[in-house]
């Protein structure tokens, strides 16, 4: 028996954070107040030092990473995102819109085991690294990167990795320069390689046990112990090569995200650590100086997707890269060129996007919450751009739970409804909130609790169809309304056991007359669920090169490859779609492309736009030293110079296919 209750609540900065913190009461066996979380906050008009000083009474519940050096901590900005580690009592205070600490937004990240945090870490020394004039730094953020792999070495015990941050590893005892996990310099990696090298072979079991990447005792995931690991494969494509390669130097810096975060692909969970990774690598990148040409250029690759966010280039991730690299950033101050490649995402066929009603219309669509889903499901309705002081009532949002319990809220500040079980525990929440900053949109979020749990205390929501009814208010301003479901699927057998919620509607056509999945929306369809607009939520910004995937044999865009366009912003169109496409499959039958397996000398096949992006990053490393000012300008030129013929809509493949031949083994003559 479930009951909706209405609440007028305009004090929370983020309902999703509040809901998840509420779930922690019943989902974590330990005292929820003792659990550490990564949190991405935005602070306005205060410095990090001031923020920390004001929170002296919460000193035990707050850890500010040493990645922020004294200069960062002193700086007062109009708005700056900061990754912190915090515990529930503090997060609840920060998530209150009335807080006096300068916090204007809160994104709750992942649970962080306390054993991985180091309060006594000190900022790393950032000594300069001299490189040849033709060197380009390759910066990779991913999970499960086998840093000892021979494709990242110049010799048996000579790594090309100048810096590696490993977030999911117990901190070094003694002097540590990482607040989370540990970091390695090239010298440290080389020393470890020497220690683990026997009779011509690297003992990789030992090596990864030493780096903390394989820790079976701790029970954490050890992706590099598997034959195939995402980050190894991706970094192999971006920067992998055998020793004595003929190409120009490609020093590597990388940050290795915890795989448990990756397994919890709600996207929100990822943001704080992703942000921290960018901060760390941005500082490391600053160390590289060419002999005569100033700072060495950097190509970042981040092969992750996310289906949430406003999809108009103003989301936290989109603004992240601009914050790190754009005007006023460290890169700009140094005059260092930095490009970013991102995947278009793999959700084209996943039914995770729906279009809301136009003026005077109504949209009905079901959100299917699957049974045996052990993680919360989250759906967002993004409303047209509006100023905070206006916030017009764009629509009425009706929801009917699987048991028939119905509720409607309007899109006005404070509107919120919660579904309670018979014990008075909240199992779902529908709430409006305004997202300020660069975004300037209202958003209605529907968070549905897990539908299954092994703990007897678990608070469970009903699985099944949650019927959404969006009725556009008469006379409301124009602009698109879009709905996205966040990804939260996990691989079978992996923690934490999420199953993907998705949209469903009677008129959604999945297959053509031959039973082939339709990769583009049928002409003339009125179905609210669309393949258009499925572009990776991280990849809607103006700066990065966004890469679709193609299947080489059929010369077609891969069915899963996400499509544009991005949402408009008050009439100004966003991206049409990805910038270009690169190979992500050999053929429809032989999925994936070959790159590094987890162990030296081994090869593996992986598919998806995740493997298309680093292919382009590899080519961009040559392009970044050319004439093109921006990465996207270069990408168009590159397609012209080395095209792969594709007959594809620009919304799915941008300027077209780019042929990138990778020679891992090209010994110097």
């Amino acid at each position: 028996m479930f009951t909706w209750q209405h609440a007028d609540d305009d004090t929370l900065l983020d309902h999703h954070t509040d809901f998840r913190l509420g779930l922690s009461e019943s989902h974590f066996p330990d005292d929820p107040a003792r659990i550490w979380w990564s949190v991405l906050i935005e602070i306005a008009d205060v410095s990090i030092d001031q923020f920390e000083a004001a929170l002296a009474e919460f000193a035990d519940d707050l850890l500010i990473p040493v990645a922020y050096d004294p200069d960062d901590r002193r700086e007062v900005k109009e708005l700056q995102p900061v990754t912190i580690f915090a515990r529930k009592p503090l997060i609840e205070v920060l998530n209150d819109g009335r807080n006096v600490f300068g916090v204007v937004s809160v994104h709750l990240g992942a649970v962080i085991p306390e054993a991985l945090l180091d309060r006594f870490a000190t900022p790393p020394a950032l000594s300069p690294i001299r490189v040849d004039d033709n060197a380009v730094v390759m910066a990779v953020i991913d999970d499960g990167i086998a840093i000892g792999h021979d494709l990242f070495r110049d010799g048996p015990t000579e790594s090309r990795i100048e810096h590696a941050s490993i977030f999911e590893a117990a901190p070094h005892s003694g002097s540590s320069h990482a607040s989370l996990g540990r970091s390695y310099s090239r010298h440290e990696i080389d020393a470890l390689l020497r220690r683990c090298h026997h009779n011509g072979f690297l003992d990789e079991d030992r090596f990864y046990a030493e780096t903390g990447q394989a820790d079976f005792l701790a029970g954490t995931a050890s992706p590099v112990s598997r034959r195939v690991s995402h980050g190894t494969h991706v970094m192999g494509l971006a920067a992998g090569r055998k020793a004595h390669h003929a190409d120009a130097p490609r020093p590597i810096i990388c940050a290795i995200l915890p795989s448990r975060v990756v397994q919890d692909t709600t996207g929100v969970d990822l943001l704080p650590l992703l942000y921290l990774a960018f901060v760390i690598l941005a500082k490391q990148a600053g160390r590289f100086r060419t002999r005569t040409k100033g700072p060495a250029p950097v190509v970042f690759n981040f092969s992750y997707g996310n289906t949430g966010g406003p999809h108009d280039g103003t989301g936290v991730f989109a603004s992240l890269f601009r914050h790190v690299v754009g005007a006023g950033s460290e890169f700009a101050a140094r005059g260092q060129k930095a490009w970013l490649t991102l995947p278009a995402g793999n959700s084209n066929l996943s039914q995770l996007h729906a279009s809301g009603p136009g003026p005077g219309k109504q949209t009905n669509v079901d959100l299917i919450a699957q049974p045996d889903d052990r993680t919360p499901s989250h759906m967002q309705i993004w409303l047209p751009v509006s100023e905070e002081r206006e916030q017009p009532d764009f629509a009425r949002i009706g929801i009917t739970a699987p048991g028939g319990e119905r509720k409607t809220i309007s899109t006005r500040p404070g509107q919120r409804a919660s579904l309670f079980n018979s014990r008075g525990q909240e199992v779902a929440r529908l709430a409006y909130q305004y997202v300020g900053g660069f975004v300037q949109r209202g958003r209605v979020g529907l968070t549905i609790g897990p539908t299954a749990g092994l703990d007897e205390k678990a608070v469970l929501a009903p699985a099944g169809a949650w019927q959404l009814e969006i009725e556009r208010s008469a006379g409301a301003p124009a602009g698109d309304i879009d709905l996205w479901v966040r990804r939260d699927e996990t691989l079978p057998g992996s923690l934490p056991g999420g199953r993907q919620a998705y949209f469903d509607a009677a008129d959604y056509v999945r297959f053509d007359e031959f039973g082939v999945p339709l990769a583009v929306d049928p002409t003339g369809s009125d179905c609210p669920i669309t393949r258009s607009g499925t572009l990776n939520g991280f990849a809607c910004g103006a700066d990065p090169v966004v890469v679709a995937g193609y299947s080489a044999r059929e010369a077609g865009v891969a069915g899963y490859s996400g499509a544009g366009p991005t949402s408009d912003r008050g009439g100004s169109p966003g991206r049409e779609g990805p910038d270009l496409a690169a190979k992500s499959d050999e053929s429809y039958l032989m999925r994936g492309v070959i790159s590094a397996g987890s162990r030296s000398g081994s090869w593996a096949r992986l598919s998806g736009t995740s493997v298309a992006a680093p292919r382009v990053a590899r080519a961009a490393a040559k392009g970044i030293q050319g004439k093109a000012d921006t990465a996207r300008d270069w990408s168009r030129m590159a397609v012209g110079e080395s095209p792969f013929p594709l007959n594809a809509d620009p919304r799915r493949a941008g300027a077209g296919g780019l042929r990138v031949e990778i020679r891992f083994d090209d010994a110097q003559k």
Binding site: N199, D205, R206, F216, A218, G219, A221, R226
Partner: protein
Amino acid sequence: MTIVPQSAYSAYSAYSAYSAYSAYSAYSAYSAYGAPGAGENPMLADAFMTTRDGIVGARLDQIGSVRESVANDPRTLKRLSPAVRAAIFQAELAASIDVSIETCDGDVSPVLWHRSAKKGDMRRIKYHELLRMTRPSVERLTRQLDLVSGYAQIRPDRAAEILTQVTAPAPFFSTIGFIDPGRTPHTLEFLSTALSFSAPLIQRIKFALAVKRPIEFSPQIQPMIPTPTHGSLPSGHASEAFLMARLIWRLMLHSNAPQYGDKAYWGEMLMRLAARVAANRVVSGVHFPVDSAAGAVLGCTLAEHVYSQCNGGRWWSSRFDGTHFDPEGDFDWHDIFDVRKDELKKKAESGDGVWMRAKAHAPSKGEPAPVLSWLWEKALEEWQDLGPGDLPVQGE
């Protein structure tokens, strides 16, 4: 005596490296007749009888002289069926070792004894300790359980290896050494001999130590293969895999083939494979890492023993003390063996003390067993490389 390797689930034939390649049937003269066993084909027997009746004729008045056969001569081994030879080899090897179950610090401690004759008199035996093993406490095993749980996450990745290694890890070694029934039948026979020799010893030690399996500690281990009914420590798979790795490497080293010569990467790779086989048993959920460590010590020690029984020379003894193995530690074979020196390390220790000691001993008096030497030489011949200079030159 029938010797059944310890980890056989189904049958001797399924397990044995030798018969895994159907080498036995390829050898057996009887199999040429399609006989199911030792020639008990009734139709064939009937035909033999009627044939004899038809052609036998009257008894000969006189038959020619028959020479006395050579007694106890290894040269005749080649005329015996492999199964008969196997029994003879086991008789030699079994006589070289003894087992006692003793008490050490209040706990059970099985000991293997190296038997040798005093001054060549086989009726006067002297014993030297060859191996002593002590089990870890239940409390230490409980701490090892976290490692077993952690390893479970890579089961999907290792499933093919684990399932194919349940009965016969031996074929994996033929992916490194060029071992094939057609090319190296005696190498297979030699390895089978060593495995068959080791199997009852492994089982006797396991029985004495009676170490519980992970499945008895937690309902969450849920091994992906059936847990064998025998004790956990030492790991039989580890013992056998390291035994094979060591003996194959010895054959390579003694072959004088330049590719094997002083190239320690062959030995290293064989040991990596053995360690992988051992680790797979932990991944599958039927062993603790400490079982692998004990098995590796046992396997390496028995390899030295088999080698010295075939060739004479020094032999090795070792001790494994499970009470000093790091309860939170994983097994790294580099802790116990030095490939470049081709010998066991003198000791291995954790923060809790020394958990392995090994010692080389002067050669025993007396010749190595001639039949075992014959087997070794036959196997070794199969590894010798033929170069142009090895060919006979006309006129010489």
